[in-house]
Symmetry: C2
Subunit: 625 residues, 2 copies
């Protein structure tokens, strides 16, 4: 041991004790929280923040700063205590933990400048850490990413998706730490203190593993040293710890998960913790922090994206236009990266891979880590486009929820939406994807109907700050817009209108072609309808919809290639409700089945014929065939 280290260790131990005290105080003040989950990781946190990581507490977003993600987000109080000890903000703020007026929430969110992604839904932080580590490669930085997991958390499947991908991508700039404190929320964890169970798993998944006593500061520092020296694979430090470490009446005891100390318990706890402070070791915590090298970085500027190049009336699937648009975008903009889950030949993102293979990340069939990595990439300045069949994005629903909480700048594209995919059957049909993304109040939801609008909307999605979902279709649809047509987020297109329109049909995606066919058929029998392409589902153009409603006697019909809940119809209904208008909906109302696309549009009530019948019935005129 060097003499530096000999003096460092008692200082770090004192910092750890102080972090325990701060975590106990803040949770008691809040009246809730997880102090014992903080205690088990206190030594690890002290070593990470005040010896291992290079960062500037005043400028956490510095591109070359090391990252720390607290995957076990319920230990938030010690994360906050560590940043306060580092000097990021005043320690007195800690006592506002969990108050409505404070950003020191029950679980960490990026409302705090030093938090990259919201955690608190377990098994997600490690996926985001992969994105952070991939970003270091993108910007050619040597920053390292650290992520701390709970042992109970390791039962989440997403952890093992991450384990596979990180090993496959040889992410030696990624260091995980598992806080093996033996106790879950309601009972001991699956593997308790059997460290071999953890070690065997991580080794089998291709990681370097280091098993340590998580309360032995020298061992912790050695482990970080070793992890830093390993090349070609990520490291998982498996730290055996005690939940509640340092306070004898809770240490290793059941039934203390998620419980703050009562006032008298707090005093007892602090008294005991204070006895553990090594005397004669004055601690200037901020002075211990290693700063990253100051470096000038000028990210290559984005080039203009070429205009679309289609012919009106041609037939092109929006998923294919997406692939082409993405290939152009990734070529033009060095911040754009692309993530796939082994469907790139169906989503056409293989074209983007060809255009920029170094910014294309293959996750194989593992949608959770794909979206999680996108979250991490976005937090570090990349603009990630993650795509798969829309129904399989649903596998990552909880990641999407957390991305919304973190307001991450991710772009999700779901192809093969709706019954219009045909023969593959219901398991491959996304019918809930708009409900999933539309439910999140800060998601932009786009649903192009043709190739031109797809290309334009992909470009807009990249520019728009915040989470965006783009819904794409499998069948070829007509090119209905000129290449110089412009689109806006929150807009719509009135694609057919006349002064005599008796009703407005609001379509999107594949149903726009159906609405246009219905328009032709009705016109042949002397009935005019207005047709709207609702390419922006959220935000929705309330004024545009109200204007159409007023112009067509309040007769609004939506045509939706998805279940009736949470999609186009609900968005329109909510938008026009205050105007006193109601909406007649054509949507999928039962579990669909295999068949030809056109048969299914007919069978499930969203074909041109159904639109004609709905108009006819609403208007009360003689049926037009």
């Amino acid at each position: 041991m060097t003499s530096d280290r000999a003096s460092l260790i008692p200082a770090l131990k004192n910092i750890a004790t102080q972090l325990r005290i701060d975590s106990a105080r803040s949770t008691t003040q809040a009246g809730s929280g997880h102090p014992t989950s903080c205690f088990s990781m206190a030594d690890l946190a002290a070593a990470l923040f005040f010896s291992e990581m290079r960062f500037d507490p005043q400028r956490p977003h510095e591109p070359d700063a090391d990252r720390f993600i607290l995957s076990k987000g319920h230990a938030a109080p010690i994360l906050y205590a560590a940043w306060a000890a580092a000097g990021a903000f005043d320690r007195s703020e800690l006592l506002k933990l969990r108050e409505l007026g404070s950003d020191l929430e029950g679980h960490p969110t990026p409302r705090l400048p030093f938090v990259d992604v919201a955690t608190g839904s377990l098994g997600q932080g490690i996926c985001a850490a992969i994105g952070s580590a991939l970003n270091a490669r993108r910007i050619q930085s040597d920053y390292r990413t650290y992520v701390l997991l709970g042992d109970g958390e390791s039962a989440e499947g997403s952890v093992w998706e991450a384990a596979n991908v990180a090993a496959r991508d040889r992410l030696d700039n990624l260091c995980g730490i598992t806080d093996v404190n033996r106790l879950g929320q309601s009972q001991p964890t699956m593997w308790q203190h059997d460290m071999g169970q953890f070690e065997r798993r991580w080794q089998a998944f291709g990681w370097n593993t280091i098993v340590i006593d998580g309360h032995d500061m020298a061992a912790i520092l050695d482990a970080f040293d070793q992890a830093r020296s390993v090349t070609g694979r990520p490291t998982m430090i498996l730290a055996r710890t005690e939940k509640g470490k340092g306070v004898s009446f809770v240490e290793g005891k059941d039934n203390w998960h998620g419980k703050a100390f009562k006032k008298d318990e707090l005093e007892k706890a602090i008294t005991e913790l204070e006895t553990q402070i090594v005397p004669g070791v004055p601690v200037n915590a901020p002075a211990l922090i290693r700063k990253p090298e100051a470096r000038q970085r000028a990210e290559a500027a984005s080039k203009p994206i070429p205009a679309p190049n289609y012919k009106l009336g041609d037939h092109v699937a929006t998923r294919e236009a997406f692939g082409d648009a993405l290939a152009r975008l990734v070529t033009a903009n060095p911040r754009v990266v692309v993530l796939d889950a082994d469907v790139k030949n169906s989503t056409y993102t293989d074209r983007a891979e060809k255009a920029a293979s170094d910014r294309f990340y293959e996750n194989f069939i593992a949608e959770q880590v794909m979206v999680g990595a996108a979250m991490g990439l976005s937090a570090r300045g990349a603009i990630p486009f993650a795509s798969t069949f829309a129904c399989f994005l649903y596998r990552a629903a909880d990641f999407i929820r957390m991305a919304a909480i973190g307001s991450n700048n991710i772009k999700l594209a779901g192809t093969h939406a709706g019954v219009s995919i045909g023969e593959d059957g219901p398991s491959q049909m996304a019918l809930e994807d708009l409900a999933m993304c539309g439910a999140e109040p800060n998601f932009t939801v786009l649903y192009p109907s043709d190739a031109v609008s797809t290309e334009r909307l992909i470009a807009l999605a990249a520019e728009k700050q915040g989470p965006v979902y783009i819904r794409l279709s499998r069948p070829k649809t007509s090119v209905i817009y000129a290449n110089d047509e412009t689109f806006t987020i929150g807009g719509l297109k009135v694609v057919k209108e006349s002064a005599d329109d008796v009703a407005t049909v609001i379509a999107a995606g594949v149903t726009v072609d159906q609405a246009l066919e219905a328009h032709e058929r009705l016109k042949a029998s002397g009935t005019s309808i207005r047709v709207i392409d609702l390419y922006s589902v959220a935000p929705v153009d309330r004024e545009g919809l109200l204007a159409a409603a007023r112009a067509t006697k309040g007769r609004l019909i939506t045509v939706e290639d998805h279940y009736s809940t949470g999609g186009v119809g609900d968005a329109v209904a909510e938008a026009v409700a205050d105007g006193g208008f109601t909406v007649h909906r054509l949507a999928v109302t039962e579990i669909p089945r295999s068949g030809k696309p056109e048969e299914l549009l007919e069978r499930f009530g969203i074909s041109a014929t159904h639109i004609v019948n709905a108009v006819t019935s609403l208007v009360g005129t003689v049926a037009a065939r």
Copy 2:
């Protein structure tokens, strides 16, 4: 090798060849499908169906019959071919594959009597298989469960959740087979033919593993024999195979995933396959099948459930009433089983564990396998109640989607819904759960506001065939119903009404107390409102809502502890739209944050004060405070 086996092997090989031919023919006839994914598993399927498994093709639901779940659902054509060869239906039906009129869909669904759960979203079948294996214990049967996975599929995290739980539960009646055919959809899999990668993982997770050549029939039969002899842990047979096995122009070749042969390719393929038929081995496939022992089973009858026992005006959290109701239910009904994901002390299902520990299954922090196991249990006659915090059920969204497709008889309960959980913050708040379950057209969605209705609705949920979701709250709410009050799925309760009501406030869960308080405050200032407790969100009582709308001048206000999309407000709006009524909504419209429950109801616009203001503003009277 016994002489029996010596004659069996060529017969099985001939069956395998015939299964390949049938899979090729049916997919070409359909014009789409995955013949090469069928070819790789043909030898495995032949051995399973015609040597290993005990079943009666005419009575697939026999309680003591072995089960086969095709986790890689895209190989559906060979599953159908195997059942046809077994005599379950006429082989000519195979040529209707993927047609609208046929139940032989692109991916398997329980529309077919021999399919337990819908597959086609990868990584789910193995989770369902755990449920099937657990059910064998429940009914004390020695039936075995077999599940066949793809190698690409093994990247899904849910597979490793299943691996943990099956090993932990010592499910030696479960046998997995991984068809390691090396090729994914868009490229080679992560591990290709490196069998050690698979073996290390499964061994680390505690499984018995057997690596074989998946085209060596003797090795396959030996592996099944060995698996049957292992006690105390599940077995994974890792079968090295070739995608497209048997047809030289596709065998082991890239770019053949999910492609049916063209007519001329089919002829070439069949010609080549026919040369592989061992001559002089007449095959009577159905005669080879081993039947399960005929056994009389009389399941113990369900006993009556005691009535609730609360006092009007007491304060009880619905999550706690749920735990008590479940404890009574599991005691009364031997078909009821309970699944947890390490939150049983917060959902109060630990009370059900105490009541019937042998029907309580702990999944630790792994929500996907919890819901997947519930699917498998339900397919075998159990009535599974799976519960966790409602926001974490979202982790299993794609399983819930597939459970809807399979119309599985699962009961999901999500506790801690909405902003009313308070200090833990947004990561722990379910605000999209109603959108998730409500989007599925065959889900029953219940949302009780008090303890009595909770108990009654839990009992109704158990009786109702099909998927049910019950939304539960963290805070204590008033007991507002007498213990003998009756409830119906699809009903609502008018809890306050008078002839002078100027508006109807439709609340649910925690917002019923808020609406009742608003009712009191408005009454004090001379304004009467109707208050509805919408405890059944799907189906919704359309007539009841329309009647209230008509009685209160069309003034409807919903108060929703969730995001505005896909929940109570959308359900009400859709129900009353045809009556020409619109709805004024109070719901959460931004990402929430930590704070006290009552502060959050206020901040996010769903408190009594907001209801009073909304009524006042709608009615246009002077503000009542």
